[in-house]
């Protein structure tokens, strides 16, 4: 098991390096020149060819791509993520200010989605056809079908514009104004969690129904175990395998959703940074974001694969 984990970690590191290589070269295949985009957008009307060349040299864009990659990788290993062309600021600083915002919303949404998703799915599965199931199942259906950005707009319209209960967007640090932060986060967290919550609930319901007709559950009932023991010891653990897979997906979905949710609620987080940087071809920022997103998701996947074996000893590691 330990050897398996070590091998997977080495693999994750290799994948991460590959990811940065692909992104590095792909970004340079993009039509257009980041400096020209920057000049055009920042409306510097008079910039001479010499100044442009100097900028190109300053950002290292005049050197061969391979040299640029190793240059960048070497700096990353020393903790320097480079300097953004567009924001003319260090990427490390850009990310340090934005990552906590995205993480606060994302982690809250993830925890809510996992707990509520598992619980509601379990309830609906155990009480199939009863009131709880009749309420949960259609709601979960709506949850997986609703476009998050549109849900955001509806929420803004109802709770922001019409009722004036919640602020319609923006972000304030909880250390500056905790109450405002909490109020600002209600709608974005609701939006980011809804997809994961609904899919986990659905999956949990069908897993529970599936597990409930297995022979070992019938055996458990027939030998007179109580419902609590059967549900907690026999059903829950066996129904959780697909949920663990979904948890991996949910992390990705929440990060992906942050792109849309941060757009709707005008939150300056990682999602917005990523989108703006892709559109502005701000190489250095996109690479750094790739590294961070990729690292997080690889770790989550590793955790998912390891927990399979814990939940289902029939799955062997080689």
């Amino acid at each position: 098991m330990a050897a398996y984990i070590i091998r997977r970690i080495i693999w994750a590191a290799i994948i991460l390096v590959l990811l940065t290589v692909i992104v590095f070269f792909a970004m340079r295949l993009l039509p257009g020149d980041p400096l020209m985009i920057y000049v055009a957008q920042s409306q510097i009307s008079s910039i001479g060819p010499e100044a442009l060349e100097k900028m190109r040299h300053d950002y290292g864009l005049d050197r061969p791509i391979i040299t640029q990659y190793f240059d960048w990788a070497g700096k990353v290993l020393r903790g320097d993520l480079g300097k953004s062309i567009f924001y003319s600021d260090s990427v490390g600083k850009l990310i340090i200010t934005r990552l906590p915002r995205t993480a606060q919303i994302g982690i809250t949404a993830f925890v809510i989605a996992t707990i509520l998703g598992t619980l509601t799915g379990l309830m609906a599965g155990l009480r199939r056809g009863k009131l709880a199931d009749q309420l949960i199942t259609p709601l979960a259906y709506i949850g997986i079908t609703i476009p998050v950005f549109w849900l955001g707009i509806i929420l803004v319209y109802v709770f922001g514009v019409t009722l004036h209960w919640l602020p319609i967007g923006g972000y304030v640090s909880p250390f500056d104004n905790f109450w405002l932060n909490a109020r600002q986060l209600v709608m974005p967290v609701a939006c980011e969690s809804v997809l994961g919550l609904a899919s986990m609930s659905r999956q949990m319901r069908s897993s529970v129904l599936e597990v409930a007709r297995q022979d070992y559950i019938r055996t458990a009932w027939s030998k007179g175990l109580g419902e609590r023991v059967i549900v907690l010891r026999h059903m829950l653990k066996n129904s959780l395998i697909p949920i663990i897979t979904l948890m991996g997906f949910a992390i990705g979905a929440i990060f992906g959703g942050s792109v849309l949710v941060e757009t709707v609620f005008n939150i300056p987080g990682m999602g917005r940074l990523m989108v703006n940087s892709i559109f502005n071809q701000d190489y250095v920022v996109v690479q750094a974001c790739t590294l961070i997103f990729g690292g997080i998701v690889l770790l989550v996947n590793l955790a998912v694969d390891i927990s399979y074996g814990w939940l289902d000893p029939r799955i062997r590691y080689s």
Binding site: W11, A12, I15, L16, L18, L19, V23, A26, M27, L29, L30, P31, Y141, I142, I144, T145, I146, P147, V148, F149, W150, I153, I154, V156, Y157, V161, S199, I241, T245, G248, F249, G252, A253, F255, G256, G257, V259, L260, T263, V264, M274, V275, I278, F279, Q281, V286, T290, F293, G294, V297, L298, N301, Y308, D312, R314, I315, S318
Partner: protein, 299 residues
């Protein structure tokens, strides 16, 4: 009771054998909500094919004299900031939805399932590692960001959105299929099949695939919905079909700016997206119930 009567009663209690197709039809059409989903999808296809005949106005015609019209007999869903008829644009938007949804899913599902079953079946061979680590590489990027990224490299056209979404949804199919294969191949019937000398391809296609099909069909329909959502998300962010082309996500975004003025502009396309995704899920669930191999041959 005579032996004969006993035999008869035992016979009448045994499940009645019916043809596969008959059972499928009976189960599939027994739920009204599934029929509702089917009707919505049918309407979607009809709207996409006959858009020019169904749309009351030209979806691209700018009319600055009738901007921001509210709901009326002339414009059932109002008009946007350029005076274009919202209903007509919605109807034309079905084409984008259908095209992206079906083409992407067909490609991603076939390739993804193939990769997953290979990786799962040969779980102790290097091919497993190569496939699954490549999928890890792809999945380590949230699909919408991967699609954004690919669309930025390839350009924003609809073909490139399809390519981007297909690549980003591959790992979903491959990973689920991989997991199912791992679990199914531990079953005794696979072992006995192998012991009888069945070839790998035969075991994969005739024994593992059919047992994985029901969950895969659920995944495919869920993915169809997810893809339509992803396409809407991309067009909401401004990637995909170029203006003045009609895409539902882009319409929601355009309407967001006029939320206080005319909320219907972003509400209507959102409801359309939701309805279609909803319908795909309903039909998918109906299919799952009707295709479940454990119910096969019985009523």
């Amino acid at each position: 009771m005579t032996i004969e009567a006993k035999a008869n009663s035992a016979f009448s209690e045994a499940p009645v054998r019916v043809s596969e197709w008959k059972r499928f039809r009976r189960v599939f059409f027994s739920r009204k909500i599934v029929i509702f989903g089917l009707v919505v999808l049918l309407l979607l296809v009809i709207a996409a094919i006959f858009a020019p005949y169904l749309a009351p106005y030209d979806p691209y015609a700018i009319d600055m004299r009738s901007t921001y019209q509210s709901i009326s007999a002339d414009h059932w869903l109002g008009t946007d900031s350029l005076g274009r008829d919202t209903l007509s644009r919605l109807i034309y938007g079905t084409r984008t939805t259908i095209q992206v949804g079906f083409v992407t899913t067909a490609f991603a599902a076939i390739v993804g399932m193939l990769l997953g079953i290979l990786a799962g079946y040969f779980s102790d061979k290097p091919i497993n590692m190569i496939i699954m680590r490549t999928m890890d590489l792809l999945i380590s990027f949230p699909s919408i960001i991967l699609a954004l990224f690919l669309a930025a490299i390839l350009g924003g056209g609809i073909q490139n959105v399809i390519i981007a979404l297909a690549i980003s949804s591959l790992p979903g199919y491959a990973r689920v299929m991989h997991g199912l294969t791992l679990s199914i191949k531990e079953n005794d019937y696979i072992l006995s099949e192998r012991a009888m000398g069945s070839s790998s391809i035969r075991t994969m296609l005739s024994h593992i695939l059919p047992n994985a099909l029901a969950p895969m069909i659920v995944l495919i329909t869920l993915q169809l919905g997810t893809l339509i959502l992803a396409e809407a998300g991309l067009s909401f962010l401004g990637v995909g079909i170029k203006p003045p082309g009609a895409a539902w996500g882009a319409m929601v975004n355009a309407g967001y700016g006029d939320l206080t003025r005319l909320p219907i502009l972003s509400f209507a396309p959102g409801i359309a997206i939701m309805l279609v995704v909803f319908a795909f899920n309903l039909v998918g669930d109906g299919l799952r119930d009707a295709l479940d191999p454990r119910l096969r041959g019985t009523l």
